[in-house]
């Protein structure tokens, strides 16, 4: 009788995570890349919007990094990661439900002008002015305002992605908003 061999990848994840705890960066990179498709599958099964699912995956990766010391190398890694993923996705769904409950969708009669084209043109021109103003900002300020305000990323996430400290990001955002205000006030 043929017995199926245990899935090699799961065993590898245990080893890679144990190595990552010792500071082995190559193993850690390999582990994160290996779990990525699996996490994307789990996230997209529970969160329909693709962006939401990808944000959830990033949350899980950040959480994994922050609490990697709580993994016991004598136990399998996959249930540990699954628990982290489930918890993070559940948190995201809860926040989303709270937001949805507070939001009211606007009907056409709520618009200043009933005609769609009129409003779209106005929004488009405002957006164009804002985009033009953002491009005039110094690089650090542009990066901060784009990621934090336009893409609505968190400070922690932006700091992790850019390598800039949270304090420096706050200062850059503050300066960027002041500069944008001045630029947009010009006729």
């Amino acid at each position: 009788m043929n017995y199926a061999a245990p899935p090699l990848e799961v065993h590898d994840w245990d080893v890679l995570m144990a190595r990552a705890q010792t500071g082995d960066r190559a193993s850690y990179r390999e582990l994160l890349n290996a779990v990525l498709p699996w996490l994307r599958n789990i996230a997209s099964a529970r969160l329909r919007a693709r962006d939401d699912a990808e944000d959830a995956v990033q949350d899980i990766l950040l959480t994994l990094h922050a609490i990697r010391h709580t993994y016991d190398p004598s136990r399998p890694f996959k249930p540990w990661l699954m628990a982290v993923a489930k918890r993070r996705i559940a948190d995201r769904l809860r926040v989303k439900m709270r937001r949805t409950a507070r939001e009211t969708f606007l009907a056409p009669e709520h618009e200043t002008f009933a005609g769609e084209e009129t409003n779209l043109t106005e929004q488009e021109s405002e957006a164009k002015r804002l985009r033009a103003a953002v491009t005039q900002l110094p690089e650090a300020q542009r990066k901060a305002v784009t990621m934090l305000k336009l893409e609505e990323k968190s400070l922690t996430e932006t700091s992790a992605l850019t390598g800039i400290s949270v304090t420096a990001l706050k200062v850059s955002t503050h300066r960027a908003l002041n500069n944008l205000r001045k630029l947009l006030e010009k006729p």
Partner: protein, 224 residues
Amino acid sequence: MNNTQDLIENLAGRLQPVRPSRPPLPRAAAYVIGCLVLVAVAAWLTHAWPLMLTRLADPRFAVELAATAMTGITGVAAAFMLAVPDRRREWALLPLPFLALWLLSSGYGCYRGWLVTGNSGLTLGPSANCIIFIIGFSIPLAAGLWLALKRSAAWLDPIRCTTCGGIGVAALAAAALQFWHPFDVTVADLGAHAAAAAIVCTAIITTARRAFPVAPTSTRPANG
């Protein structure tokens, strides 16, 4: 998609070695033994042991004290287990049978006291001191539990974890109280214990809610 790849590169680039946490049950055992030693030494210094040994001859009191202490021990053990991501959530149910036994034995004590002393047990006399003792004693125990959990906990489920911890700490304080509370339990006593335990739990849970908001990192306000 590129952002996730950037994130992986960033996380891998700044990886530092970490010391894996010890398993939760030995850590819970160390905490509980520390608490028991503290109470035993305090009872020895205040000469409370002889009276306690006399009172333990009463089976109802022995059951009540054991149930109270076990509620504390299992509550603390559950808190340590729930602090680790891959342990079952059902650990939260572990203190419940002992909690029920504690309430039943205390309730029986109330009934027995009512038969002897009538309605006098309904008034809040020395029981007011019980509330102060339980809350006062819970503060160092909760601080110790906080320190013990702080580094090792993942805080993915802070409310469930701290609820168990709160029940455990309040029950351990209530068990310690028996050394310096040589009276049969009355309805007022039971109410005082319940109120003190509720206050301790609420304080611990509120602290946890503020310290560990459950919102995922990328949905928090950008400037927060």
